[in-house]
Symmetry: C2
């Protein structure tokens, strides 16, 4: 974990559920902001952003640290919702109830569904070690739409594509489960 | 069906699958364009657009007529894909394989998933009578992002919210089917 981020807010399970913590703006840590912008445009994220647009997105992000074992996202949580996380360091175990438990690492995005609709979380995410992430809140997204609408449009189009992929995969799973049910 | 739209392109099953037909711009029919803009901002669509932003979206739409019994969207179709339809007149029967067959009427949107990801259709949609629809293609969406990025960002955010809703519903369905499988 870089020393530079030692002062950023630590989210942990004792965080009061009724108040989102103040998160340190990512742009206060230029090297980390640069890294986040680079990760946003890797093929892995499938976001159709140019480097400049990625920098506009990063300008609305905050940095969050999670100690090992912390629940980043709790299934059914309707309080600490409405933001996505881009993993900058560490690994996260994800259990969506849809597919076998998976482990996500640096450059992966989690929580895009809650960013989009602000509804309760549908997955459980746990830090497997120290995790550092860049977070984008709904407020940050609204600000991005106001200030850099083209970057916002392309970001949300990319996130919608990710949701569409999951929807198609889940639709196939439903058909398969129904066929099993018939046999 | 208003006489004014008699000249617009008729999509039918004999349309060559390798070429999308030329669609008449919706703005050439001002009364219909106005109606489409009004329908885009009804609570039913759940799109967070202002009337002005809806007009920007409509400016990128074309009008399409479907005779009774026509397949508007064919499951697995990977050619006539990449556009959504806003129903302006008539009713459409939708079979997604996910839920019981449903009937959608005026003001409903279909095909948003294919607009977003351009992948093959995951539903089958059939015109129950004469259907008139406003279509937005991927090219239209790209044009909107260029010309009116704020309207585009809000449109795509709304479409992503619709996908997130479906994803949550389908996730619950998978859990239910799995529980049934265990009993």
């Amino acid at each position: 974990m870089p020393a530079a981020v030692g002062a950023c807010y630590r989210l942990n399970m004792s965080t009061p559920p009724d108040a989102l913590p103040r998160v340190r703006p990512l742009n206060e840590l230029p090297a980390l902001a640069q890294r986040a912008a680079e990760l946003l445009v890797t093929p892995q994220t499938r976001l159709p952003l140019t480097p400049t647009e990625a920098a506009h997105v990063v300008a609305q992000m905050g940095v969050v640290q999670f100690p090992p074992g912390t629940t980043l996202i709790r299934e059914g949580d309707d309080q600490r919702t409405g933001h996505l996380l881009l993993l900058l360091e560490g690994e996260v175990q994800v259990d969506t109830g849809e597919v076998p438990i998976s482990v996500l690492g640096v450059g992966n995005i989690i929580g895009e569904m809650s960013l989009i609709d602000g509804a309760p979380r549908s997955a459980q995410c746990t830090a497997l070690g120290p995790v550092l992430a860049a977070g984008l809140s709904r407020r940050g997204l609204e600000q991005l739409i106001e200030e850099q609408p083209r970057a916002a449009a392309k970001l949300v189009t990319g996130l919608a594509q990710r949701l569409a992929d999951r929807l198609r995969a889940l639709g196939q799973q439903v058909q398969m489960l129904r066929q099993i049910g018939r046999t």
